[in-house]
């Protein structure tokens, strides 16, 4: 039998029907629903008099619009409230399980589904959200879809899809101290470019990837979309199985044993071939900071901002010039000289317990710089928040002058009240530094949780590897 990639295995096990030369009808095991991209899908079903095909395949929660302060007071913005209420009503009408805003299991969809064991290896997972790639960390085929496709999955449990090409990102060696999965994925995007993965499904592999926890692998897969790929994935190993054991929606007993046996096949065969491969050495990766308005505009902390005048590609030169104008930055400025107005620690990229531990370890015993107006910590879920509080992390943050918030997407995309004002500059653990992403006119620099915490204390970017010496 021909050697197969993990992607081949996941794809082939979900083909319901293949049209010659056109598309494949792919079965979807899990759909995650949130308030922003689902209302029009439910309206479509209602208008056509259709029911949900398989209710138990869906799970819903509100995350984008929810306030991160005083949750019990409800949502002040009437349009945000309408969207969240609409999700509640749609879930009740169609019989779909929802973790409501006051449920301790509520949180960012991409944090709660793995946390609950709702994402399992070998599944196809979709959501009307591009960061669905996150779930590939568990050996699943997970990708973001649009609202018309959300409706299609609700109505048929399938999607028409075309197989992507395969790309393996192989990371050799070992990450240095203070260097994280976030730095790894930013370095990968810097190398590939934001369109480098377009048309590909990425498998992250190699010793440095295998050494990551499942949470680190989620950070990695989460940003596959920032490299242009709809899905990122990591093969199943003992770390994956250990992570899943005992999760509320994970199988138990005899079915668990049967599942584990099946999951152990979910990795690329040793001699499988990929359409493309990129190789990096973990030891070469330093803490990363983005300087522009696209995640590919990234450099290591010791670097200076590049000079567009030295870029020979004219389209790219114009892109850099526009980005530096928007960011109000000058070429050749050291990244460590950039001063921050706000700091955001959160998002589906970096709001899990290990992220909060890493940030707290840096913040412990220090004080937020007076020049930093707000340093905000937004846990990824109610359960992450509870775990952090049990470990005393909330205390460390509060003593350091950081704000400790309720879970949600928050200032990753600023659909709730958390946002940058025009001209404000933010060190953010989120995934996109696009113009206006964190608030109209706001300026975003993407970094790891430890780098964000260190920047909050120093007031400017610093190399977190030097932190213990400070």
């Amino acid at each position: 039998m021909a050697a197969k990639t993990l992607y081949d295995k996941l794809w082939e096990s979900h083909v319901v029907h293949a049209e010659p030369d056109v598309a494949v009808l792919l079965y979807i095991d899990r759909q995650l629903l949130h308030e922003v991209t689902s209302p029009q899908a439910f309206s479509g079903l209602r208008a056509a008099g259709r029911k949900a095909w398989r209710i138990d395949a869906n799970i819903a929660t509100a995350d984008h619009n929810v306030p991160t302060t005083d949750r019990a007071a409800g949502i002040v913005d009437p349009t945000s409230r309408l969207q969240v209420d609409t999700l509640d009503q749609n879930c009740a009408e169609f019989g779909i399980e929802e973790f409501g805003m006051l449920d301790p299991r509520q949180g960012i969809v991409h944090v709660i589904a793995p946390e609950q064991g709702l994402t399992l290896p070998g599944m196809t997972v979709v959501c009307g959200d591009s960061h669905t790639a996150t779930h590939g960390a568990l050996g699943a085929l997970a990708f973001g879809i649009g609202t018309t496709e959300v409706e299609h999955v609700l109505a048929t449990q399938c999607l028409w899809a075309r197989k992507s090409k395969s790309l393996r990102v192989w990371v050799d060696g070992e990450l240095g101290r203070g260097v994280t999965a976030k730095d790894m994925v930013l370095a990968i995007i810097g190398k590939m470019g934001t369109a480098g993965g377009t048309g590909y499904a990425i498998e992250f592999a190699g010793p440095a990837v295998q050494a990551l926890s499942v949470e680190g692998r989620m950070t990695l897969c989460n940003m596959a979309i920032e490299a242009g790929a709809r899905s990122g994935m990591v093969g199943v190993d003992a770390i994956t199985i250990d992570y899943l054991r005992g999760r509320p929606y994970a199988p138990v007993g005899r079915i668990w044993d049967q599942a584990v046996a099946a999951w152990s096949e979910l990795h690329s065969d040793a001699d499988a071939s990929f359409d493309a491969e990129i190789r990096l050495h973990a030891a070469d990766i330093a803490p990363q900071v983005t300087w522009g308005t696209s995640p590919e505009m990234v450099a290591e902390i010791s670097a200076t901002i590049p000079d567009p005048a030295r870029e020979s590609d004219m389209v790219r030169r114009k892109g850099w010039t526009d980005a530096l104008a928007y960011m109000d930055l000058q070429p050749n400025t050291p990244l460590s000289a950039i001063a921050l107005d706000k700091v955001f620690i959160g998002s589906c990229t970096n709001a899990r317990i290990e992220d909060l531990r890493a940030a707290a370890a840096v913040a412990k015993g220090h004080q937020k710089a007076a020049s930093v107006k707000v340093a905000m910590v937004v846990p990824g879920s109610g359960l992450v928040k509870a775990q952090a509080e049990a470990e005393g992390l909330d205390k460390i943050f509060k003593e350091a002058g950081f704000e400790w918030r309720e879970p949600g997407c928050s200032m990753c995309l600023a659909m709730n009240a958390d946002r940058l004002e025009p001209g404000e500059r933010c060190a953010s653990t989120s995934n996109r530094n696009f113009e206006g992403r964190q608030g109209a006119g706001g300026r975003t620099h993407l970094v790891s949780p430890a780098m964000a915490a260190a920047a909050a204390i120093a007031g400017h970017f610093v190399d977190v590897r030097d932190w213990s010496a400070q």
Binding site: L25, L120, I145, G146, T148, C158, G228, Y249, R316, F434
Partner: protein, 209 residues
């Protein structure tokens, strides 16, 4: 969905790479629970300025130039539509009046969403796109004719550019088809697949755990 066959229209040039869906339709407009009415917010941050607390047209932005008022074709650079999966981006583009976008490349999710909304995405080489940018700049009111059945972009000077097209997407656009009806013709195959999976992988079904 409106079918797409042939379109002749004015071309508006948007000369920047990596135009993301946050730029196409910013987050404050995603709170709608409707599909319609997003055209007025298309490219909001670039298109409008705040003046004395009021929103006014930004005269620098290309779509605000009167010559492009009737543009139905958008000319763009590489990786157009990257970032968020929000279908609000093609809803806003379609509601504004764009029926086709020409660029060297498009982001995957955005491309899928466009097909669902009758917007034709045309991939030409970076050199061809560059040439079209020069033509648009040199010829006010520049128009192109797009022939989907022939998969050709035709200039008024009778140059022709062929473009590649997924056969399934082409069929869908030409006929304005709705996928769900088509899929439900395979109901038997879906049920059979589910029955087999319940046996081989019961943990995928929550009542099977």
């Amino acid at each position: 969905m409106e079918a797409f066959t042939v379109l002749e229209a004015i071309v508006a040039p948007l000369d920047r790479p990596n135009v993301d869906t946050d730029a196409i339709i910013p987050k404050q407009f995603l709170k709608t629970i409707e599909r319609q009415g997003l055209g007025k917010h298309l490219f909001d941050a670039w298109r409008y300025l705040e003046q004395d607390g009021k929103q006014v047209d930004n005269p620098e932005f290309i779509l605000n130039q009167p010559i492009y008022a009737d543009a139905r074709i958008l000319l763009a650079r590489e990786n157009f539509g990257c970032g968020s999966s929000r279908e609000h981006a093609p809803w806003a583009l379609a509601d504004y009046g764009f029926r086709a976008i020409i660029a060297p490349s498009f982001a995957d999710i955005f491309a899928n969403n466009c097909v669902q909304n009758g917007i034709l995405l045309i991939r030409l080489s970076a050199d061809e796109v560059d040439h079209l940018f020069h033509e648009v700049a040199a010829n006010p009111g520049y128009r192109l004719r797009i022939d989907l059945p022939a998969q050709e972009v035709q200039t008024m000077g009778d140059s022709r550019y062929c473009f590649p097209m997924d056969a399934g997407h082409k069929h869908k656009l030409l006929n304005g088809l709705d996928d769900i009806q088509l899929t439900l013709q395979h109901e038997g195959a879906i049920r059979a697949y589910e029955a087999a999976r319940r046996q081989s992988a019961p943990w995928l079904f929550r009542d099977g755990v």
